[in-house]
């Protein structure tokens, strides 16, 4: 048998069902791979903030028992997973990439985590992220950046760079993410993996450390479209603990992924969004040539398959980034007020104050516990919400949100799905945009409109850019609660591209493990 770590989750599930391999063997192979890849510490990939070896192996043994009893609760029972550190895990640290939660162990599981446990997916550990999910590079983690397995001097995207890098480095077959402005899709794009932001409300937000509550949505991260669909069905579903949780059934995403791969997508009407195509003068100019080339070729490929492609215009999208960077900081400044140094997390006493007040302790703790980007957004949000500025900033941003929803509604009257490049560039060098917040924010220009409107979006690999050999992402957007369309179109495109490439794009990723140590214990 070939290396277990290179198998897709769907293949691992088949092996488990056939009894050819145990969950303990699969989980051990991934834990050994994590040990090898993460051995370089912060100079290496550094996808994980915490590895839960003993618990994962115990969960794997329980999964094996459930399968032996003929009582596997899910198709993915026994397939291990990495969890973004924004999701609370009872008994496992949850830091959100922040000093202020450095040693916090939550007393309860997020609903998403509870669903993973109920389906008996062993949890390998918690993945690195930009502090409180604020960033597009994972450089804003208080515990050091994650590095891109394609090039260790480059960013893995963010905020979910840890989950995406773990997949690209074959440290985990599946991972979870959260997407507030692109934090699942942009990391997927720059690491050559697949990421899906479901419809707002499809996956429970209970137990997710909130960034911007009206934008946050958890979703699956994987190496294939089918794997993402399998995980989507485990994660999604109504939750009475989240008042914004959708009540209806989860769209048939697994069936859609299988149908897209086997039957193709002739007769699908697809719209290329002019404002997200990176044409000069269209607001989102400056897209890298290789990103646009791979996108245009993928569209051509679909046209040859009989897909009807039209250009659509969504004029308000040019204001989406500005609206987002008012709405997000406003909601974040409110959500992060709970870090008050009183009930959980860090408490720092101010210097040179003999008997400090609670307010002074709170201010000293937040000064020491929050990083630069978090402070920047809290102050920005506090300003946008203050009287005198509210109408011009936050009020106008909410109106732009209406305009963006109208643009999507009009576009989806013409077409079934919308497509664009996921991110304007491939992975950029570490440190490149760290001191230029506006340049960093531009990474999200194509992903943000979906969050503002609450609609689902997927990123899948479209190839490697000629100029740097790094992965490029193809984004698909669908109307609210039509998540299955993403999977149908995504699986069809994935099948066409892998046939053209003669395999997965991740066949070309360099091995970040030192001295080939990954092969020991990983090969079975």
């Amino acid at each position: 048998m070939s290396e277990l770590i290179r198998r897709s989750a769907a293949e691992l599930a088949e092996l488990l069902t056939a009894g050819d391999v145990s969950s303990v063997e699969i989980t051990t192979a991934h834990l050994d791979r994590i040990a090898a890849v993460e051995a370089s510490g912060r100079a290496g990939v550094h996808a994980f903030l915490h590895v839960a070896r003993d618990q994962a192996l115990a969960e794997a043994a329980a999964a094996d028992q459930a399968r032996a009893d003929g009582a596997a609760p899910s198709a993915l029972t026994g397939v291990p997973i990495a969890v973004k550190d924004v999701m609370t895990t009872a008994g496992l640290p949850t830091t959100c990439g922040s000093r202020i939660l450095q040693s916090w162990v939550p007393p309860y599981d997020a609903t998403v985590v509870r669903r993973l446990r109920d389906a008996r997916l062993p949890i390998l550990g918690k993945t690195n992220m930009d502090e409180f999910a604020m960033g597009s590079s994972t450089e804003h983690s208080a515990f050091g950046p994650t590095r891109n397995p394609w090039d260790l001097n480059r960013i893995p995207g963010g905020s979910g760079g840890g989950s995406a890098a773990a997949l690209a480095a074959f440290e985990a077959p599946l991972a979870t993410g959260t997407d507030t402005g692109g934090s699942i899709r942009q990391p997927a794009a720059v690491t050559g993996t697949v990421g899906v932001k479901p419809t707002y409300g499809a996956v429970s937000r209970y137990g997710l450390v909130a960034l911007a509550s009206s934008l946050d949505q958890a979703g699956p991260c994987a190496r294939t479209v089918l794997d993402a669909a399998l995980l989507h069905e485990v994660m999604a579903g109504h939750d009475p603990m989240d008042s914004t949780s959708l009540a209806g059934p989860v769209p048939p995403v697994v069936a859609a992924a299988r149908a897209g791969a086997s039957e193709g997508i002739a007769r699908v009407r697809m719209g290329v969004v002019r404002e997200l195509h990176g044409d000069p003068g269209e607001g989102g100019g400056g897209y890298q040539a290789g990103v646009r080339a791979r996108f245009d070729e993928a569209v051509e490929l679909l046209v040859k398959e009989g897909v009807e492609v039209v250009e659509v215009s969504c004029p308000s999208f040019t204001a989406a980034l500005a609206a987002y960077y008012l709405i997000l900081p406003s909601e974040a400044s409110s959500n992060l007020a709970k870090f008050d140094a009183m009930r959980y997390g860090l408490r720092v006493l101010p210097d040179e104050v003999a008997d400090p007040t609670a307010e002074q302790v709170m201010a000293a703790t937040r000064a020491a516990g929050f990083g630069d980007e978090v402070k920047r957004r809290i102050i920005l949000g506090t300003y946008a919400l203050s009287s005198g500025y509210y109408d011009a900033y936050y009020g106008s941003a909410q109106k732009v949100r209406t305009l963006i929803q109208r643009d999507f509604a009009a576009a989806f009257e013409q077409v079934d799905v919308l497509v664009s490049p996921t991110a304007p560039t491939t992975a950029f060098p570490l440190g490149d945009k760290l001191d230029d917040p506006l340049a960093m924010y531009l990474n999200d220009v194509a992903t943000i409109p979906a969050n503002l409107a609450g609609i689902p979006g997927m990123s899948l690999p479209s190839g490697l850019a000629d100029e740097d050999g790094l992965p490029t992402g193809f984004q698909i957007l669908a109307p609210a609660q039509a998540d299955d369309r993403l999977y149908r179109v995504g699986a069809a495109l994935e099948a066409l591209l892998t046939r053209q490439w003669g395999g997965s794009i991740l066949d070309h990723v360099p091995d970040p493990a030192r001295d080939g140590a990954d092969l020991q214990g990983a090969a079975r």
Binding site: A322, A337, M342, R343, G345, K375, I378, Y383, G395, T402
Partner: protein, 105 residues
């Protein structure tokens, strides 16, 4: 003209309960100035649409229509006191122990 002054940033930091250092105030004032000038375009975009349509654009706070959700008010297990206090910086007699909350007179 700058959109935000260093003094305003200092006041906002006080409101947000973040004890910023002088050099942080300098840097943030510069950065926020650039960001605010960039995001201020939202009001121009909205004004252009409102002028063309001759009516105001309604605000949207949330992607889906929100409705209140209630459940029967029935007792059910929650966190124990020990679990709830497990992450507290300081606890005493099954309560959160906090610094003094009143100014000295």
């Amino acid at each position: 003209m700058s959109a935000i002054s260093r003094e305003e940033v200092a006041h906002l930091a006080t409101l947000a309960r973040i004890d910023l250092k002088p050099q942080e105030l300098d840097r943030l004032a510069d950065q926020l100035d650039v960001i605010l000038q960039s995001v201020a375009t939202v009001s121009e975009v909205v004004r252009a649409v409102e002028d063309a349509d001759g009516r105001p654009v309604p605000a949207t706070s949330h992607p889906m229509p929100l409705r209140n959700v209630t459940r029967p008010d029935e007792p059910r297990p929650g966190l124990s006191a020990d679990e709830a206090l497990g992450g507290a910086p300081a606890a005493e007699e099954q309560r959160f122990r906090v610094p003094r909350i009143l100014e000295e007179d």
